[in-house]
């Protein structure tokens, strides 16, 4: 039991950050997208490992957020952007 907990806590290194944590104008490379009923849709829209993602602007009320993905603009809610794990460039 103790061992199991240790594995969970110390396991593999945390995968950096979420796309929702990017600041305006920051770019990152997508590491992976968490499995969720949305995963599929996000991948289809171009959010998958290896692709570059750039935070463009936040909506006036603080949410959703617009990203540049592969040269087009995609609007995502914060909770959806959290599914996208990235490594800052």
């Amino acid at each position: 039991m103790l061992l199991f907990r240790n594995v969970l806590n110390c396991g593999p290194k945390k995968p950096g950050m979420n796309a929702s944590e990017l600041k305006r104008g920051e770019s990152a490379r997508i590491n992976h997208v968490e499995f969720n009923e949305l995963q599929n849709k996000l991948i289809e829209m171009g959010c998958f490992e290896g692709n570059e993602i750039k935070m463009l602007y936040v909506a006036p009320l603080g949410d959703p957020i617009a990203y540049d993905i592969n040269g087009y603009i995609l609007g995502l809610r914060k909770e959806e952007a959290r599914l996208i794990k990235v490594v800052k460039l």
Partner: protein, 675 residues
Amino acid sequence: MNPKEKHIVLVGNPNSGKTTLFNALTGLNQKISNLPGTTIEKKTGHFQIGDQHVRITDLPGTYSIHPKGEDEMISIDYLLNFQKHEIDVILFVADASNLSRNLLLYTQVADLGFPMVLALNMIDSAEKKGISIDVENLSAALGVIVCPINAREGRGLDKLKNTLVKVNAAHQVTFFESNDISSYEALNRHHTHYHNYLRKHLDNLRKNDQADVIANSRNISEETISRYKKIDKIIEIVQYKNTEKGKNITQRIDKILLHPVYGFLVFYATLFVIFQFIFKVAEYPMNWIEAIFSTLSGQIKALLPEGMLSSLMADGIVPGIGGVIVFLPQIMLLFALLAILEDSGYMTRVSFITDRLMRKFGLNGKSVVPLIGGMACAIPSIMATRNIENKKDRLITILVTPLMSCSARLPVYTLLVSLLVTDKGDSWLDPRGLILLGMYLLGFIAALLFAFIFKLILKQKHKSYFVLELPDYRKPRLRNILLTVKDKAGDFVFNAGKIILIVSIVLWFLASFGPSGKFDAIDRKYQSYRDAGMEEKKQSEKLEASYAGMLGKAIEPAIKPLGYDWKIGIALITSLAAREVFVGTIATIYSVGDADDEKSLSTVLSEQKRPDGSPLYSYATIISLLLFYAFAMQCFSTLAVTYRETRSMKWPLVQMGYMTGFAYLVSLVVYQLMA
């Protein structure tokens, strides 16, 4: 030559310029119809090259062959039933500035085994962004004919048309694992396999089989990623990107339109301009139309011998039709302005900036488009909810969209507001425009209120989400806008006009005839009088004794607490099926009871008195009527669409019940407080 008509189906991502290409290929030679046995709307058009007749079908834009929303399901279902629809060739439209994502769907459709042509659109805007594409290499890599086009300016279309005519079943291409497939039989097996797999997935989606959908979801993600990997290898060879050089105008415009402060200011200003526009600008043609119809009524009376026919034409049909045609300028302007917002790409920004707010009310940023569209007409707007992927969000949007003040309410509002404000003053700000804006706001607030109530009542099965492409800004195309206005105006005139014509005739009959004994008695009573004042009195007594009068009197007890009399009661009954009939009915009722045809309707109404001598259309009654028409469900067509979109009788009944109940309650309270 092949005399048989060739059937080409247009497939592509949303915002790829698919509809612009369709309009450019077919011109005015197109129509909107329903797929047989369903309500699914599709656009069909024709063109001809030499002896070859070509029929084109435009399907709703979709991002993937694995449907997420109702509109994607429609397109995919159509493709999977290719035998029934006799599809000869798929014309795939791809946005060159966003090639990788556009090619995803292309490869999926190619693997279904269709002969295809790839139209590469918007190369110019890609080049402005610093992206150029090697068309020949792309064609070689995919094994498909690629036609570079500019749908907006009509470039490359002749070549595209000629190519389409030549392509046949031998041009079948496949994309996925094509290296492994050598023989024709293996190719067919591959297509059939992919087809069956998609078919099964679609059925499970329909049945809402959660276990299967989730299990499949992993497979789909894998499939998608491996497609993208292969696509990206091709992109590396055929695409040259120099984004340093490219200018991004869209992002610059967005800095203003999505700005925390200016963003909402621009949004409100846009709405404000729309309302001032449809009141101020539309006023001139409306005055002309009104003048034409009242002269027409007078002329008919003068020309035709006095009698039944003259009365039917001058008191029934002409004022009934005129009362509706007069609103055509406003409706056309409204649809044109909304089409401009849609075509330019601004509408998606409105979704983006309002999503946070809408979410609180159980809606979605994507609900804003149907809601704003609801200001024109709830029917196409309810159909436009199909791109809302979440079922609950979509259902709530469908239920509350009819609360938005639609163009059919506009005639009613206009008439009532003109009674409320008789002196419009000289200021540039039209007070009637402001009241009208207030009515629209009221509808919107009611829609939010009920959305919130439904959010609390209805159960949530899936998480709500918002994944929305914000397309590049584009100059709206006049042709696209005119075609939309033509469709909608034609629909209003012919469909609403049909009902209104029938209602006008029936109403004229009901208002002109009654139980014969009573009519004779009135005739005898006034026999000895000859002056005009007595004639008017006789007419109104006759109206009261007529069948229509009896009907109005029958419901009077129920509507009296709202401040309405039996004449308004007649109009309420006739406008049950369609609101705009109110104006035609009122026009018919009062012209039957009025000898003077040259007076405008609002003058006639403001002269109406109650039995005690006070004006019938008091502020309390007018406001009570305005509120009733704002909230009540008085549109059979909307109920029919709700039924078809939800596939259940329950939701139209809920819609009817809560809207009309709320309308009655609000009008009752307001009238009792004001009177």
